[in-house]
Amino acid sequence: MQKDIRRLSLILLFAPFALWIVLLILLPHVGMVFLSLREKIAPRVYEFGFANYIEFFNEPIYWNTLVRTGSMSLLVTVLALIIGFPIAYYIAKIAGPRVRGALFLFCLVPLWVSDLIRAFGWILLLRETGVVSNILQWTGLAAAPVEMLYNDVTVVIGLVYTVILFMIVPLASTLDGMDNSMIEAGYNLGGRGTTVLRRIIIPYAMPGIASGCIIVFMLTAGSYLTPILLGGKNSSWFTEQIYDQFITRYNWESGAAFGMLLLAFTSLVVWLGLRLTGQSLANTVTKT
């Protein structure tokens, strides 16, 4: 009797989970795999095959875009780590309790503002008629309006800006759990600043670094808004290719194949990241 009730409640609790995972995650991805393996040989005639994937590797512009997206995402991840680490350390270890709370909140606020508004803000600052250009002319540093949009540097800055909070938050919460006496002990035992950083702080922060990097990389590689708005026509981001195939050309088969390739690529990098740092997915995601 009691066993039956327990089993029933398990089934009732499992049902929403199963519906969600199966209908919204598993089946759609299976469907996408099937679609990506469909070759169009004539209008309304399809055959099973790898043509969509072969097409991707035969057309340099496609895989170049993926490589470009991947390498720029790596660059963004590294930059976000280098810029964000001192900030996270400051929040967790140097600021007083009041300042810490304020800073943490401050860092979180842009999280609640959509990517679109943030990118829009950058456009207003950096375009030819934008604020920075105006200031440069006003101070005499530039003679004519300067266009700072639509180049790779801007795209990288914009992306770092968009994702850096996802680096700082897990880093700060990991560092926050670190006992100050560990750092003091490091100095006490005669360690120099760099030694303490390399031998004590960074190893301790490793779970935070791993989760920050993984989330940041994934968000960057999958981002669409920022590269399009700040990079313009020649941003050639891979998600743009997917959009192009799906919406503009209405070629869903190759769009699905591209989607699978992006998914495989980001999963591979996430998996490698977890492997190299010895972290588990569950731990990593719960941190953020």
Partner: protein, 288 residues
């Protein structure tokens, strides 16, 4: 010793300056996006032409305020409806998931737990296209076989909601499960011991304990849904939510300060909601 101290102070000063510079980097696009909402000019750019509220309340072209712009208003309305449905659905599934993974034991639990987390590391673009692919192929299949069109499975509000639910559920599940883990199970036993039925225990003890986490998770889900772009982009039909409407204007048409007004409105709104969620969480910590 004194010299070292001074050197240390200097280093700290440099560190503080770096943090300050970072904060300026963090807010300047937001300030740019918000401030120009009050500039009495047709373009969101310098020079400053004086203060105005017409970009909010102006009812005539060319300075048509956001509250009189029908497309923006309907975008706001759809965004609100979508976000409301998403937060209700994800809090419901998230609560079930929390009970499932915190309270129940079943074979393959670890595997299912990882499955629960995975949606968070799938790029949003891919979630969007995969759901689009599945829904369309089901709809096409039914149409071909039974000659019956299911409008719900075509791009539109329903698919947008499903797409956003697919990954937001992971967030709400983690938030609510974290709170449920802190629940002292003897509290339920105590209530049972005092004569309460199991459903009464759930109603009067467990759910009130979880309430703050459920509200906070709901607010997070609402904001995530409101600002989501990547997943929504592929699933949107004729009823565009606000981010899509705004993107079209930023990207395709030249922008007017009405977009700044919307940005300001959204920043203020999400700031308030974020504050509310923090207050709800604090209320909990004061009580337990």
């Amino acid at each position: 010793m004194l010299i070292r101290q001074r050197k240390f102070d200097k280093a700290l000063l440099g560190y503080r300056a770096y943090v300050l510079a970072f904060l300026i980097f963090l807010v300047s696009p937001l300030i740019a996006a918000g401030t120009f909402a009050f500039n009495d000019s047709l373009f969101p750019a310098l020079p400053w032409q004086g203060f105005t509220l017409s970009w909010f309340f102006g009812d005539t072209e060319p300075k048509l305020g956001m509250f009189y712009d029908r497309r923006l208003l309907s975008g706001l309305y759809y965004s609100f409806i979508i976000a409301l449905m998403v937060s209700l659905l994800t809090v419901f599934i998230g609560t079930c998931n929390a009970f499932l993974f915190v309270r129940k034991d079943f074979p393959g639990k670890n595997f299912f737990y990882i499955l629960m987390i995975v949606p968070l590391v799938i790029p949003g673009v891919i979630l969007g296209i995969s759901i689009l692919v599945l829904a369309s192929s089901v709809a096409n299949g039914i149409e071909n076989r039974f000659d019956y069109e299911i409008g719900l499975l075509r791009p539109g509000i329903f698919l947008v909601v499903l797409g956003q639910v697919s990954f937001t559920t992971t967030i709400t599940s983690l938030v609510i499960a974290a709170k449920l883990k802190k629940f002292d199970i003897t509290m339920e036993e105590a209530a049972l011991n005092l004569g309460a039925s199991s459903s009464r225990v759930m109603r009067t003890i467990t759910l009130p304990f979880l309430r703050s986490a459920m509200i906070a998770a709901g607010i997070v889900a609402f904001l995530v849904s409101f600002e989501n772009f990547n997943t929504t982009l592929f699933l949107v039909g004729s009823e565009s939510p606000l981010t899509i409407t705004m993107f079209d204007r930023v990207h395709k048409v030249g922008s007017t300060p009405v977009l700044n007004a919307v940005s300001f409105f959204l920043m203020a709104g999400s700031g308030l909601l974020a504050l509310l969620s923090i207050l709800v969480q604090q209320d909990k910590s004061a009580r337990s």
